[in-house]
Symmetry: C2
Subunit: 243 residues, 2 copies
DNA sequence: TATTATTGTAACAATTTGATACAATAATAA
DNA sequence: TTATTATTGTATCAAATTGTTACAATAATA
């Protein structure tokens, strides 16, 4: 849980936010045939966390998640979906957050609003890796992409959150045709198949995959992509939004 | 939003609960070939609402939903699932709740904790209609089953909540094999097919349906059910939990 | 110009699903 | 007792989908 804290927001009240409620976002990207997620790192503590934030009193819950996403990636109009609410008592662990605040030179009281119990609404986002620009928040000193396949330990219950986000993404992939959000605007059939295989964690038959995708009528074929190697050049495709 | 209010909980603080956070439950039942949901009705106001409640400071979020479900139906160990969080500003409308409290002889201040903005976590439950005993809460005077197909207007955004719950149930039905939770322990193939058709809102082919269900290996065939009319008696089946 | 690896698609098999048909059979009525 | 009736369980075949293999058509390189 790493939250945006402007100076005036570090006061104990947190009065401009809904109390005890947070959003955490699992931001997926795809690069070098690997699924990645965006993580924040805190100086001196070595702690890694999902981008998160609080909900303003004057803000819709979903808009808070969009704001967090925009603040960490610079991106608007991104595929973003609620997937689960994490509300167990066991997730309350003020130790790492206190360490982060102390590393920042703060000396929070035990009843500081940031150290209390939080219920967190989990969102996952699918972004074009080439367009997102990772931006740290006020408490963290770096923000970057990490391979999902080799994820380091995360703060609090964030590993559970990531696991649940991936499970939801896997279940949603065919039902909602959302994979395209992870690719740049044009892509080859091999790119798309690799994406599907990586998300689902299984190999797919090339012929059947191509037949299925083309049969859905949701991509249009563009020019060929040359300079791909000593072989026939693949076509590029573009996703056609169903509107 | 109808919440359990014991006398000492009507005090303005609501201090034993997480502030600004609620759960609302869409409790599905199936009877007379109709999908039903459980609703609370408030005296003098004519308002109908989903069963809901608050999360104790010492309680897991999911346990709060289980508690609400148990308090309204008397049932434990019920299929219960989070499906969406409702957090828009537009859902904040203190008028109906004030009317309910006034009908109860209360005169709440404008800043009474019950009249503030709430983010609500939506759950849906699937119960055996024959086993649930609807029990009103402290603010309501009746609790009963209503046909989903002819739902009267509900308080606040509860109609949206019901619509989203149904959409989730429809999407989950085949993927998770959860329909059995709505039937009594034994049922005929016709019962099960009618349930599926009612939830999905479409007719299914009898032969294919039977073949599919039997092919899944998740039901065991019991004795025949006689006295069903002037025709061949159907078998009864029982769901085999996959453990 | 030959070689190489990959692509697009055809072709066929295997499987699943859709639709129809029909014998079996409980309850009711004749 | 016997015929009638509606429903059930399953078989059968057609249609659609999916799994698998095969192969000609290339771009780049040697």
């Amino acid at each position: 849980m790493s939250k945006s804290l402007k100076p005036e927001e570090t006061e104990p009240s947190g009065a401009e936010f809904l109390p005890g409620l947070a959003v955490d976002t699992v931001i997926f990207g795809f690069h070098d045939n690997q699924l990645k997620i965006l993580l924040l790192e805190y100086r001196n503590t070595g702690l890694l966390a999902l981008p998160g934030g609080f909900i303003k009193n004057t803000e819709n819950l979903n808009d808070a998640a969009r704001r967090v996403l925009a603040e960490r990636t610079g991106l608007q109009d991104i595929y973003l979906e609620q997937f689960h609410v994490f509300g167990d008592l066991t997730r309350h662990d003020p130790t790492p957050l206190r360490a982060i605040m102390q590393a920042k030179g703060l000396q929070p009281d035990d009843d500081h609003w940031l150290l209390g119990r939080f219920v967190s609404v989990g969102y996952y986002a699918l972004v074009d890796f080439t367009k997102a620009i990772p931006i740290p928040d006020e408490l963290s000193d770096s923000c970057g992409w990490y391979d999902l396949a080799a994820l380091p330990p995360l703060m609090q219950d964030h590993t559970d959150i990531v696991r649940k986000a991936l499970a939801t993404l896997q279940a949603d992939l065919d039902r909602k045709l959302i994979g395209f959000n992870l690719l740049s605007e044009t892509f080859t059939m091999a790119d798309l198949q690799c994406l599907y295989e990586t998300i689902l964690g299984q190999t797919l038959h090339r012929s059947g995959f191509q037949r299925k995708i083309l049969g859905l009528g949701i991509v249009e074929r563009l020019e060929k992509q040359y300079s791909g190697g000593a072989h026939k050049a693949p076509y590029l495709y573009r996703f056609i939004s169903n509107k």
